[in-house]
């Protein structure tokens, strides 16, 4: 585990406003939980945010927007050559056909994996990620090990995901330094001939659309 998503026990450079009273019977809360509670209460009290809007944002990214969106795009591209052509020439418009639009997906680019080319996506400078089709990024994508090494030793990174690509395959890393958001179009695995879109979408994983895994490497028993 990278261990960088838990609360750090050591204090950095602030006190966290915990007065030490009134918590005798409550579960201990972390300094960060206290801090967030204070900022949220303050923002509500000052009229800077509407609590209902906060709940809507959480619900959107916890329940409504996620990698199943991207999986539907991929399955459509596998089964509809005209759609795939649109997706590769104007990804933003093609993805919008599903209604997947908005924040952190305003300007999309789709990268096609082939026998000759494998694409993988990183954001070395922060955590840019195509929210509209993949939801919020996993912790590893936002963390120093991946961000530092994806551009320097991409094959070593892939190996940690259990993905080995041949020396003859061109590996293209895409660093999301601007407001373009990248989605990898994985190769359709052999043995899925005749499957319909829904069944295909079910085998498309988030990591394959970031480009850190290949679907062909997935154990067959994991496939629906």
């Amino acid at each position: 585990m990278a261990g960088d998503h838990h609360d750090h026990a050591h204090d950095h450079d602030h006190d966290h406003g915990h007065d030490g009273r009134g918590h005798a019977h409550a579960a201990p809360t972390s300094p960060m939980a206290e801090r967030v509670k204070a900022i949220e209460a303050l923002a509500v009290a000052k009229g800077l945010v509407d609590p209902a809007a906060l709940d809507l944002i959480v619900d959107t990214y916890e329940s409504r927007v996620g990698p199943r969106n991207g999986a539907r795009v991929v399955a459509r591209a596998w089964t509809d050559p005209a759609y795939k052509a649109r997706l590769l020439s104007d990804a933003t418009a093609a993805i919008a056909e599903f209604g997947f639009t908005g924040r952190q997906g305003e300007d999309m680019v789709v990268l096609e994996n082939t026998d000759q080319v494998h694409n993988m996506v990183v954001c070395t400078l922060c955590s840019c990620y195509p929210w509209t089709v993949l939801g919020l990024p996993p912790v590893w994508y936002k963390s120093a090990p991946y961000r530092s090494r994806a551009v320097l030793d991409p094959r070593g990174v892939l190996a940690e995901f259990g993905c080995t690509i041949g020396d003859e395959v061109e590996l293209r890393v895409w660093d999301s330094t601007a407001e373009l958001r990248y989605l990898v179009l994985p190769q359709r695995p052999a043995g899925t001939e005749g499957w319909d879109e829904e069944r295909l979408a079910a085998i498309v994983t988030r990591d394959s659309m970031i480009g850190v895994t290949r679907l062909a490497d997935q154990p067959a028993e994991l496939r629906p």
């Binding site: 990278a2 000052k46 800077l48 209902a52 912790v139 590893w140 890393v173 330094t177």
Partner: protein
């Protein structure tokens, strides 16, 4: 800014922390941190670029030992203070302080849940096609990344500065983050995907079949 956010090519962070069946949020406070950060951002007092600069301005020891949502919160606090929405003492208590200056007179009302949903669905594209200056480069051109070192915000990572690459594609005209973060207007200009051979970035130890693309603005480049 040569801050701790610019991680590409650094070493020593250890393995990728891959987590099976990772939840969207690892603690309830993370969900609230995301929501509050986005919702206060909806007031339009700062650009995404200024927000990124606030995060990357954290001292490197703090940045590197903070979880991602902790970095977001610290950035949000700095932005709220800078833009007159709060004073530091209020983050300790979560209660408006009589000593705090009045909120800006031109502050928009906080979006309600329906308005927040619309904002998320619409997003905020940084594309400004047709408003930038003519593109100086075309696909296939060899370019060198300028050696930009600034305390201000820039999206040219250190690992490409001074390196020679090839224009892969022209994305169109996009808001220049350096200008937006400094509140110098948008200065829209051509943004390109630039392809760098891994060996041109990292030397002979890099795989001969690897390349890295970064999205770079016209201002960052000169003819090679």
């Amino acid at each position: 800014m040569n801050g701790a956010q610019d991680l590409g090519g650094m070493m020593g962070f250890g393995p990728i922390g891959i987590e099976a069946n990772e939840p969207v949020f690892h603690a309830p406070w993370e969900a609230r941190a995301l929501a509050v950060t986005l919702a206060v951002g909806f007031l339009g007092r700062w650009s995404i670029d200024e927000a990124r600069h606030a995060r990357e301005s954290l001292p490197p020891p703090v940045y590197l030992t903070s979880s991602y949502y902790e970095i977001w919160l610290r950035g949000l606090e700095r932005l709220m203070v800078r833009h007159g929405l709060a004073i530091d003492a209020e983050f300790e208590t979560g209660v408006p302080d009589p000593a705090a200056p009045a909120l800006p007179a031109d502050l928009k009302p906080a979006p309600d849940a329906a308005q927040a949903a619309a904002i998320l669905a619409r997003g905020a594209s940084a594309r400004r096609d047709g408003s930038g200056r003519p593109a100086r480069f075309t696909a296939g051109d060899r370019v060198k990344v300028r050696d930009i070192n600034t305390l201000a915000h820039t999206r040219a990572p250190r690992y490409v500065r001074g390196r020679v690459g090839t224009i892969e594609r022209l994305h169109g005209d996009f808001v220049l983050p350096d200008a937006a973060a400094a509140r110098r207007g948008e200065d829209p200009q051509p943004c390109y995907a630039v392809r760098f051979a891994a060996r041109d970035l990292w030397g002979e130890t890099a795989h001969p079949n690897d390349c890295v693309h970064a999205d770079l603005w016209d201002d960052y480049l000169e003819p090679a």
